[in-house]
Point group: C2
Chain length 365, copies 2
């Protein structure tokens, strides 16, 4: 145990299909080849709407403390947020991101032949600021002239905008490096590293204006400029449109919290299914993998949920914990499974169950 590195991983299945995909993620970690020299230990943790109904708390202190004190990383499934505002209930994933200061939400959207809804090859990453914007959840309600008025604060800070821009820039450069290695034998033209800053500063000149300017300033620093990083901007409504009109064009897209949330769900449609799209909530020295899909109560318990988003989130988590080689193994195994296209879950038009897909990926690791 002393020779190889042991990573302690918190497992938070949450609700619905979270309970099916998180065990799948654990199996992937346990099945990584021994040659990588990685060991894992696990701790089961609670959060979610079921937890709230049982205990009155959606995110127990024990979950937060265990993650903070014991864990290197974590996997989070999904939670069923009630759409009817429920007294005392508040989304545990939003709280977790803030409590652990997981300031970046990294959401790669990549198409693999045979699964994609769009004909173009898509390989982009949405880097979403994860701690502020409307997600500060400072709201108030009052009466005025017989009307009811509710207000929420959208808060943007220079510090948070700067660190998310730095993260976006670093990811763009890292991706360019990986592309260069992978394609070193190919004659194909390399895509240049690029960050697209998305905002709505034509309406929100101060808040989104601050985000926009801070991102440009940050990405103009010598470390990025000298690496030939291209920096563009796109107003968020046009961004959503162009995402569908020219998806192959984009590399890294950085945005404030809410736009990032919306862009990543929209981008999932580009690659046919939310069941394919992973995310990592990343802080300094901690990464929490989380599939972008929800708890899908309609298919929970049927054993047909797509484990790919979670498996890719395992890869992302490993990547941000500095285990690039292990991550690459995971990604390649998933791509192999999708490329062969023999074992696909129903969201991708196939007939396979969760277990079969996991088994197939494990064989390819």
């Amino acid at each position: 145990m002393a020779a190889s590195r042991t990573l302690r991983i918190g497992l938070i299945p949450g609700d619905g299909i979270g309970k099916e995909v998180i065990p799948a993620g654990r199996r992937i970690l346990e099945s990584l080849p021994a040659s990588l020299g990685l060991k894992f230990s696990f701790v089961d943790l609670e959060a979610g709407f079921e937890t709230f109904q049982k205990t009155g708390v959606a995110l127990p202190d024990r979950t937060v403390e265990t993650l903070q004190k014991e864990c290197d990383g974590a996997l989070f499934g999904a939670v069923s947020s009630p759409t009817t505002p429920t007294k005392g209930y508040s989304s545990p994933i939003v709280a977790l991101r803030k409590k652990l200061d997981l300031y970046a939400n990294v959401r790669p959207v990549k198409s693999v032949a045979g699964t994609r809804a769009f004909p173009d090859p898509i390989d982009l990453v949405i880097v979403r600021e994860n701690t502020e914007d409307l997600y500060v959840k400072e709201e108030r309600t009052y009466e005025q002239d017989g009307d009811i008025v509710a207000e929420a604060i959208k808060r943007i800070t220079r510090s948070a905008s700067s660190r998310i821009a730095t993260m976006a820039g670093e990811i763009a450069l890292r991706r360019a490096k990986i592309r260069a290695v992978e394609k070193s034998t190919s004659t194909e033209q390399q895509k240049q590293a690029m960050v697209t800053i998305t905002h709505k500063s034509n309406v929100l000149s101060q808040t989104d204006g601050l985000f926009r300017k801070t991102c440009f300033d940050t990405l103009a620093q010598p470390r990025f400029a000298s690496a030939n990083l291209k920096v563009e901007e796109q107003i968020v409504d046009s961004m959503l449109y162009k995402l569908f009109i020219q998806p192959a064009y984009y590399d890294v897209v950085v945005g404030p919290n809410l736009y990032g949330d919306l862009l990543s769900d929209a981008a999932a449609a580009l690659v046919a299914s939310l069941g394919l799209v992973p995310s990592a909530n990343v802080g300094d020295g901690f990464a929490l993998g989380e599939p972008c899909h929800g708890s899908a109560p309609d298919i929970a318990g049927l054993g047909i949920s797509n484990p790919i988003a979670t498996i890719r989130s395992v890869g992302l988590m490993l990547e941000f914990l500095g285990q690039g080689e292990a991550a690459a193994r995971v990604y390649q195994a998933v791509d192999g499974c999708l490329l062969e296209g023999r074992l696909l879950t129903p969201d991708l038009g196939g007939k396979a169950g969760t277990e079969e897909v996991v088994g197939d990926v494990v064989r390819r690791l």
Copy 2:
């Protein structure tokens, strides 16, 4: 002149291709068959970034006053908002919506064979609240612990939510009536009138919670319930995803200002081009037609901008001014042009110029 009705229309081309499409809109109005008994008079009005650069004001008082005092309706082209916040400049269309209390922004997205990016027939309307949300533009910036913090207010009121829900419900019922007439001879199953309420109340329980609840309450009134209106809800991130996964499913989608802005641009990608998507900014007794596209500086002056979004906006304006028959003529002429597919602008893969498309639509009126 006393026998037939004369409608006075303000023309606000704005910047860029706004100057090409607004004259096209005027020509359509002038070319409507005399048998409809409608006459039009026009007044040219200024607004936009060019106006701002010339006069220091983006929306001159004269424009607002003329619209208020003299006009029945108006056509607005597009403005080039500078993305770099520019002192003293503020979007004239956002201001106009508020000053004239054009509280609903109605954006139909309809596919016509041959032009659509998606195989499904799409026929939905996004009904966007047009006066509040983050568009109140109440922002402030301050320093705190060496950081810069900017805040914006997102404001939702019960009154505005209720009237936009009413508008959405009415539009859904009107559409169902039109479908019933058009398809009375067909055996095809009629789509039921439906409103999908979109929000993010799982995070913004007070603001979006108020919007959500008010919409449900409003649409539960006997006038809607007895007409068998179906009411559903969809969290806005899922809404964006589902819009692409099952676009044919949706009928009327109602949302707060910002989500409506984003959804309508995304939906434009469903039908291949923003150049096809119209909108009407509607208040009590006034309608302002506005293509959803921007000023497109890259193609301004080339004579190749797609006039269809503006021509359809002319139809919408007429519809909301109570001229349903004239509106139907405009829509049919546009559909005829698109169905034939001989004269299409480059955004739709064709080679025709703006003038040719306008000429073709005029011939079909």
